[in-house]
């Protein structure tokens, strides 16, 4: 039986099946008809989505489906890619983030990002976390800065493990600790939104469990958007799930609904493991 992935492009639909939450949350980030091109190649086709505040939204889908591309639009990391072009409108708190007079530095201070591979700076643990507050001028004094560093590490559930070696290099930590250090570094600048691009794909199951636990704690204060390859992970940590396929947002809705009762056939196929 041919899966949808093997069907000709023309026969695919570009519409999105949406299931609203039972108790709708306020919208934090909104994408309206977003198209992304890398040179002549179109990577995203008219993605429209509302991302709720103080909840975890998971983007799932097979490789190359555009979920990371969309995530990287949300803090304009695509700006750094030569030939990348974004059309449509993305708003954060109803403000267009591609507006010309919006400062991209300020945007990235409000929208933090955690990458696939843990990438601490080759500096001390303290310096890693202190970097953001320092460049954004968030600490008025040295004590202020220390306070921010300690509280960020605490909120990233890393403080107890590293409190005796804050001045040792961050690259000396284990992979899971490095990833939590990167999360601490991201929350040190008090962002509203944290983007996570497959944050656990380079980690072992125990480290993954710790990071997932942390994500669950963080959602009380932050809007979290996570791209993941693992459907189990999406099911465990997220409240809403969006399924991307070949650059199209196919279906989005409450996580339990997507996983137990998907409406679109492609979503069903993916979730049941027919492709992906």
């Amino acid at each position: 039986m041919a899966t949808v992935a093997e069907m000709p492009r023309e026969t695919q639909t570009f519409t999105t099946v949406r299931t609203p939450d039972a108790a709708p949350r306020p919208v934090k980030v909104r994408g309206e008809n977003v198209n992304v091109f890398y040179g002549a190649k179109q990577a995203l086709f008219g993605v429209t989505i509302d991302i709720p505040e103080k909840a975890v939204t998971a983007f799932i889908g097979p490789s190359g489906c555009g979920k990371s591309t969309f995530l990287r639009c949300l803090n304009r990391m695509n700006d750094t890619i030569v030939g990348a072009r974004v059309e449509g409108k993305i708003t954060l708190d109803n403000r267009d983030i591609y507006d010309t007079d919006l400062d991209v530095v300020e945007l990235r201070a409000r929208v933090g990002m955690v990458f696939q591979k843990p990438n601490p700076f080759p500096k001390s643990i303290f310096e890693n976390v202190a970097y953001g507050p320092r460049i954004h001028g968030l600490a008025r004094s040295k004590t202020d800065l220390e306070e921010i560093v300690v509280s960020s590490l605490q909120r990233a559930s890393l403080y107890n493990e590293v409190k005796d070696r804050l001045h040792e290099p961050g690259t000396g930590l284990s992979g899971g600790q490095q990833q939590r250090l990167c999360i601490a570094r991201a929350i040190a600048v008090s962002p509203d939104v944290i983007l996570m691009d497959e944050p656990c794909s380079a980690l072992d199951p125990i480290a993954t469990a710790k990071v997932e636990e942390l994500i669950d704690e963080l959602r009380t204060n932050y809007t979290i958007i996570i791209v993941t390859h693992s459907m189990q992970q999406a099911a465990r940590v997220s409240q809403r799930t969006a399924f991307f396929h070949l650059g199209v947002l196919v279906e989005e809705g409450p996580t339990d609904h997507i996983f137990t009762n998907p409406i679109e056939k492609r979503t069903q196929d993916y979730i049941t493991g027919r492709f992906g």
Binding site: G112, N119, I135, A186
Partner: protein, 429 residues
């Protein structure tokens, strides 16, 4: 799929065939390995030959024959109120007359005086100037023997060749042997090779002027090429759009790195000396020319170092909301620095050994003092070697080789520093 079964003889054939193929394969591997070993041995052999020939011809220059002489400083030749105007030539003559009372005819006195360096009187003057209390007494000094007697003492001049074919006469040899018998002749380490500037007389010539000149030239070269090279590389690597113009610039930089160095010398002559009127033979101009020559290498090395910084570090910085400037200055450049420094040192070592462009801007002048600044006339180590190699005196043969050894020593130190830096600062991420 078809099932294949081998009969007994087939399997045996196959076995033989495989054994033969394996033998050929192993032989080919071994051959390749031997070619490599052969090539490396050849290269190392040539290098050893080079060093051996330099050391064999140059080692004698690391000692210098000295003659210990007592100079009576009489108040008639040297007036205490005008020490620097004393007649030291007579002081030297008197000292030699004391040693050889039977040498009296003017011609003999002159040829006796040739045993000591031509500048003996100035050594005596300097000693008296340093300590005026010796007037009226005598002062004992170790005076460098002149070049022919230095060579004689080192066995370079053969006593068995007929008298008319060597630079020292039998009588002079007799006097010198007398001095040896009196235990007045020594051959200590030749510190003057490093502390004295150049001289017409091999026994007095040293490299200090060239070493200081090279240091000043390299300083100018570094001050110019390091910041310009890094700035250009950062622009090309981090900011420049990828289009036809930047491609053209890149191709040109790569080509410039391959331009013969003498062309840069011609440029320096035409532009820096003739057009801009900068001083001739000056380390300033030498450094500028060498900076032009090193810049392409510098840019290429810096770009490679910047490229080697993993993109994840840039992403981390940008993701934190750091501006491009902050990402480059706080993260990329510090991480690229070990690579940049290694490349810089190797570039500087290259510049240190460069001769051709310096010849064109006059840094092969005969200069008998150390340069006091970057606009004073100076020579550099390679050009000093060039000058000495051109000099007819016998002593300069060994000194040329010694000069090359000193230059090689500096190059080895610089390259060793680069290797050490690379290992020391190498990071893992």
């Amino acid at each position: 799929m078809t099932e294949t079964t081998y009969s007994g003889s087939d399997a045996a054939d196959r076995g033989n065939d495989m054994a033969a193929r394996r033998k050929r394969r192993d032989a080919a591997n071994r051959r390749l390995q031997y070619y490599g070993i052969g090539a490396i041995s050849f290269a190392i052999g040539l290098l050893a030959l080079l060093f051996a020939s330099l050391i064999v011809s140059g080692y004698t220059a690391f000692t210098q024959t000295h003659v210990r002489i007592d100079f009576p400083i009489s108040a008639t030749h040297v007036k205490p109120d005008a020490i620097d105007q004393g007649n030291y030539r007579l002081v030297v003559r008197d000292a030699l007359a004391d040693l050889f009372p039977d040498v009296t005819s003017p011609a003999d006195v002159r040829s006796l005086g040739q045993i000591l360096t031509n500048n003996t009187q100035f050594f005596v003057r300097d000693a008296v100037l340093a300590d005026p209390s010796v007037i009226g007494r005598s002062v004992t000094l170790e005076i460098p023997a002149s070049d022919p007697f230095d060579q004689l003492n080192k066995g370079v001049i053969d006593r068995n060749v007929p008298e008319n074919q060597r630079r020292v006469t039998d009588r002079q040899i007799g006097w010198f042997d007398q001095l040896v018998a009196q235990d007045r002749v020594t051959a200590p380490f030749n510190w003057a090779l490093f502390t004295a500037p150049n001289s017409r007389f091999p026994e007095l010539a040293g490299l200090s002027g060239a070493i200081v000149g090279s240091a000043l030239t390299l300083l100018v070269c570094f001050v110019l090429s390091f910041p310009i090279g890094i700035a250009a590389a950062i622009y090309l690597e981090e900011f420049a759009p990828k289009n036809r113009w930047t491609d053209l610039i890149e191709v040109n930089i790569n080509n410039l790195a391959a331009v013969p160095s003498i062309v840069f010398g011609l440029l320096g002559l035409a532009v820096f000396l003739n057009l801009m009127g900068l001083p001739r033979s000056a380390p300033l101009v030498g450094g500028m020319v060498l900076a032009l020559m090193t810049l392409p290498t510098m840019i290429i090395v810096t770009r490679a170092a910047l490229k080697a910084v993993p993109p994840s570090i840039r992403e981390a910085g940008l993701g934190m909301g750091a501006s491009k400037h902050q990402v480059i200055m706080h993260h990329v450049l510090p991480l690229a620095m070990p690579g940049i420094l290694t490349g810089t040192i190797i570039g500087m070592a290259h510049a240190l050994g460069e001769t051709a462009p310096l010849l064109l801007i006059g840094m092969n002048a005969f200069i008998t003092s150390e340069p006091g600044g970057i606009t004073d006339a100076a020579t550099a180590l390679p050009t000093q070697v060039f000058i000495w190699a051109d000099s007819p005196e016998r002593g300069f043969v060994a000194r040329t080789a010694a000069g090359i050894l000193v230059l090689l020593g500096f190059l080895i130190i610089m390259n060793g520093l680069a290797v050490w830096l690379r290992q020391r600062l190498e990071r893992t991420w």
